[in-house]
């Protein structure tokens, strides 16, 4: 059990992080030059960490799966980034941001971590402005804020509908500067394929050069995983095509615990699925819920007529529309947290009120806002989103309501880390979406960017020193150590095995199948029977994968199908662990909704007496059931309540 010490510093909540920093060990500048750090991933967390560590004087090796760090999927975040600046003078504070985040996460995250996140949020905004991030401004020249789901204050900073892009480009520019100064060595089109452990510590990785297909060895004093989440387990998600869970999964298989795998977020405002060959889903920013009103027809016959194309949404009279979020949650209305909004949409569609030709869509209507604010104002706020919608759906959202439906978007679960962001493997760290740390069972909007940058700029660069201070006498590793040879052999055998299946089906064919199983049984509403069925089906699918997959070409060259196959093999296993975890957690909380556990009004019903813990899964070997350890979540400062967005 010792492995699961979260290492929370002593003292009052507001002083923990300062206390930690005052007493942690540091590494002096001469010694920093002698220490190497591998950072895998170049998104907000990875790029900001690599740049910051490089500036401090460590020798950093940074790995990027795309052709440039600027492509990382953080770039697609639209709406904004939260911070407790209280510039609008509406009563915000570090404590309030902390409280909203803890509550939004349905009381399944650590108090100390979340408080620290809220505390450093303000530094992030300062840092980004200094880097030249063009945030939206008022006419007086000061920064503008907007409101977001799950909060009653306006604390979200934004750069049109491209906040993620601008923040990532800020981190990318800092990283580019560090590369120019030779503080960071960048490797693009490389994918981590194995973790190397020497004497119990993370000491390197094996990466595959995606252009040549060759396996290469890299050694370091510490390894940082910043490879994002595993949402693509569902095949259709808002994640980018190359987003994958494999780096995290390699760590899990080497002994790092995997925390809360079942906690995946379903985003309420995505463009609905259109057909079988759909490759991914497109998110429409949650900020649209500031001015858009969500509704379905009140009458079943109207919904049916719309589905059959006999009625248009604009034909439905005001009194025949059901603005179900405003009806059910008067206090927060259309701005309830994502999990609540998603489930409410599913509930209406399951009851037969869904629209679109599939019946799996609800309306997001701007007619009232356009009338109230004028088309110009709406266009200035959301113009690029409206354009994006029109290009995809071929409908003009200024004239007819948008159609939206929930889709997998983000994974709160991830590699277990302690307060220092270190995993259960010494010297292995995980930051950003790749770890499980701050969002509990549900993440609030505009908090992913905040967490990624908090970890990368302001937390890891401190906490990693507490570990590295003990490593200053450890000389640089040679990659001809037997542990490297062994790791390389393992992955080489795996690639060999994949190439030799020579079956019938393409990777995408099997991945699509995985997506159906996950969405049907491990999606928005889960129950024991379905989850058991999912586990059975995933076992069969795994067998199908390893006996009937077809990969053209060969392994020592650029081979996109082989890359995808490696990731899919892991996605299937991640899916199994998600189902196990969801089955085990017999309560509903945040993004994890067990149909058996709901209030009479259909809200999520937590069981704090039994499940106020983090589920930490330990790998036991191929085809063996993993073992679960519990990290209890003791709340010292906040009282757990039933989440209430009604009044």
């Amino acid at each position: 059990m010792n492995k699961l010490d979260a290492k929370i510093p002593k003292g009052p909540l507001a002083e923990k992080w300062s206390n930690y920093k005052n007493h942690q060990k540091l590494v002096n500048p001469a010694n920093k030059r002698r220490l190497d750090i591998i950072v895998v991933g170049t998104g907000l967390a990875g790029a900001s960490a690599a740049a910051s560590l490089g500036e401090m004087g460590f020798k950093v090796h940074n790995f990027c799966i795309q052709d440039s760090p600027r492509r990382a999927h953080s770039i697609a975040a639209q709406g904004g980034i939260n911070a407790a600046k209280n510039y609008p003078n509406d009563g915000d504070s570090v404590y309030r941001l902390f409280y909203d985040t803890i509550k939004g996460g349905d009381y399944r995250s650590r108090e100390a971590n979340v408080y620290r996140l809220a505390e450093v949020s303000n530094n992030i905004i300062d840092q980004c402005v200094a880097q030249g991030v063009p945030f939206a401004r008022e006419y007086g020249g000061l920064l503008d804020n907007r409101s977001f789901g799950g909060a009653q204050v306006s604390r979200t900073f934004y750069a049109r509908g491209q906040t993620g892009q601008q923040l990532l480009l800020g981190a990318y520019s800092a990283l580019s500067r560090a590369i120019h100064k030779k503080q960071v060595q960048l490797y693009t089109r490389y994918e981590m394929v194995e973790l190397v452990i020497i004497e119990g510590r993370a000491r390197g990785i094996i990466a595959r050069n995606l252009v040549t297909g060759k396996l290469e060895r890299f050694a370091a004093h510490a390894v940082v995983i910043a490879t994002g989440g595993y949402g693509n387990t569902f095949f259709l998600s808002t994640n980018a095509m190359s987003s994958n869970g494999s780096a995290a999964w390699q760590c899990y298989k080497k002994g790092a615990y995997f925390a809360n795998p079942c906690m995946a977020q379903i985003h309420p405002t995505c463009i609905p699925v259109h057909g079988e060959y759909q490759s991914k889903l497109t998110l429409m920013s949650e900020s649209l819920r500031n001015d858009g009103r969500i509704w379905v027809p009140k009458k079943l016959e109207d919904a049916k007529a719309i589905r059959e194309g006999k009625l248009k949404p604009t034909d439905i009279k005001e009194e025949d529309r059901d603005y179900y979020l405003e009806r059910r949650y008067p206090a927060f209305g259309n701005l309830v947290p994502r999990d609540v909004a998603s489930r409410a949409a599913k509930e209406r569609c399951d009851a037969g009120y869904g629209v679109g030709n599939t019946g799996l869509a609800v309306y997001l209507d701007f007619a009232e806002s356009i009338e109230r604010l004028g088309r110009d104002v709406v266009e200035a706020r959301y113009g690029n989103l409206f354009q994006m919608y029109e290009k995809i759906v071929d409908d003009n959202p200024y004239e007819t309501p948008m159609m939206i439906y929930p889709a997998i978007h983000y994974t709160m679960g991830g590699i277990w880390v302690d307060y220092e962001l270190m995993t259960t493997i010494p010297g292995l760290f995980a930051i950003g979406e790749a770890n499980f740390s701050d969002h509990g069972a549900n993440r609030l909007g505009a908090s992913a960017l905040m967490q990624g940058l908090a970890d990368g700029y302001f937390i890891l660069p401190y906490t990693i020193q507490n570990y590295l201070a003990d490593q200053i006498n450890v000389p640089r590793f040679k990659t001809d150590a037997p542990e490297f040879a062994q790791a390389e052999k393992e992955i080489n055998d795996r690639l060999e095995r994949l190439m030799n299946i020579k079956g019938k089906h393409s990777v995408d064919h099997i991945h699509r199948e995985l997506g159906h199983i996950m969405w049907d049984f491990v999606g928005m509403g889960r129950d024991a029977e379905g989850l058991k069925k999912a586990i059975e089906k995933l076992k069969e699918l795994k067998k199908e994968f390893w006996t009937n997959l077809r990969i053209p070409g060969n392994k020592e060259t650029l081979n996109v199908e082989l890359e995808k196959a490696l990731r899919l093999a892991d996605f299937i296993e991640i899916g199994e662990l998600m189902a196990h975890d969801a089955l085990d957690r017999e309560e509903s909380c945040g993004g994890h909704f067990r149909i058996e556990h709901q209030t009479p009004e259909g809200e999520a019903l937590r069981h704090d007496d039994q499940f106020a813990y983090v589920s930490c899964w330990e790998y036991q070997g191929e085809d063996k059931d993993p073992v679960m350890h519990k990290e209890p979540l003791e709340y010292e400062f906040v009282e757990r309540q039933q989440r209430n967005y009604k009044s």
């Binding site: 900001s48 740049a51 910051s52 500036e55 795309q66 052709d67 440039s68 760090p69 600027r70 492509r71 999927h73 770039i75 697609a76 510039y87 300062d126 840092q127 980004c128 402005v129 200094a130 880097q131 030249g132 063009p134 945030f135 939206a136 401004r137 008022e138 007086g140 020249g141 750069a159 491209q162 892009q165 601008q166 990318y172 800092a174 580019s176 500067r177 590369i179 120019h180 980018a240 095509m241 190359s242 259109h274 057909g275 060959y277 759909q278 490759s279 991914k280 497109t282 994006m388 290009k391 995809i392 071929d394 700029y457 660069p461 393409s506 077809r550 053209p552 070409g553 650029l558 996109v560």
Partner: protein, 251 residues
């Protein structure tokens, strides 16, 4: 209304940088006009894999028009015939039953071909590394509201910052010039007080790096602006020229 169409795609195949390369034509049936262009290529690849042939290699990632990873010269236009979008946002409703669609990679000295439709754009990273940043370390920066910035300037900086680094400007240019890309970054920072401090040095070092990397000169044809999926304006090039001349005069 979207319907199903039958098409032919004429695709550039090139097995590595040294291979000569050639076109191959494939027939596709019953492609829904509601599917995206890249989904059409997915279907083609699925078909090729099922026939035991090698799929077409192309770059793509976010599939929502923001990462800048997708490229493709489609019927003579970077990112296809529609305007203001990337290839991943192009839908098959822009094509008709019976069409033959020609698909080529970006062709430019600055972007060598890796395989098929995939090119190497690392030159863009190198240009940014030469000076496409404000030199601040993490921590120790002033409060975000310490410097008020006129809204109009912030908006213009944002217009320039919207560049996604896809390389369509270079591919569209008969000279293979990277001026639109470079000028967008130089403009973003030149318009903001934080960026003014290093404006001269930035313009000089980014332009020098661009020249070293084999990109051509700008002759003001304006093709880059027309084809840019993010509608980056060539007024940025004028601004870059001003910044560059100012810096040179000071030397």
């Amino acid at each position: 209304m979207d319907k199903d169409i039958n098409i032919k795609v004429k695709v550039w195949r090139q097995n590595g940088p040294k291979d000569q390369g050639h076109f191959e034509t494939y027939s596709l049936e019953k492609i829904s006009q509601g599917s995206s262009f890249l989904e059409m290529l997915d279907i083609l690849n699925e078909q090729l894999i099922n026939e035991g042939r090698e799929p077409v290699v192309f770059d793509h990632d976010c599939r929502e028009g923001i990462c800048g990873m997708c490229s493709l010269y489609i019927n003579g236009h970077p990112h296809g015939p529609d305007t203001g979008i990337t290839t991943c946002q192009l839908h098959m409703r822009h094509f008709n039953d019976g069409d033959t669609i020609t698909v080529e990679p970006w062709r430019s000295a600055g972007f060598p071909i890796i395989k098929d439709l995939m090119v190497d754009r690392s030159a863009f990273d190198k240009i940014i590394q030469a000076g496409g940043y404000i030199s601040v370390n993490t921590g120790g920066v002033p409060d975000a509201n310490a410097i008020p910035i006129p809204r109009e300037d912030a908006e213009m900086a944002m217009d320039a910052a919207a560049c996604i680094g896809c390389g369509a400007c270079v591919a569209a240019c008969k000279n293979g010039s990277a001026m639109l890309f470079v000028s967008a970054k130089v403009s973003q920072f030149a318009l903001l007080p934080q960026g003014r401090v290093e404006a001269a040095r930035r313009a000089k070092s980014m332009v020098a790096r661009m020249d070293e990397l084999g990109f051509g000169n700008c002759t003001n044809t304006g093709a880059c602006e027309v084809e840019c999926p993010k509608n980056i304006s060539i007024t940025n090039i004028a601004r870059l020229n001003r910044e560059f001349l100012k810096a040179k005069f000071r030397d």
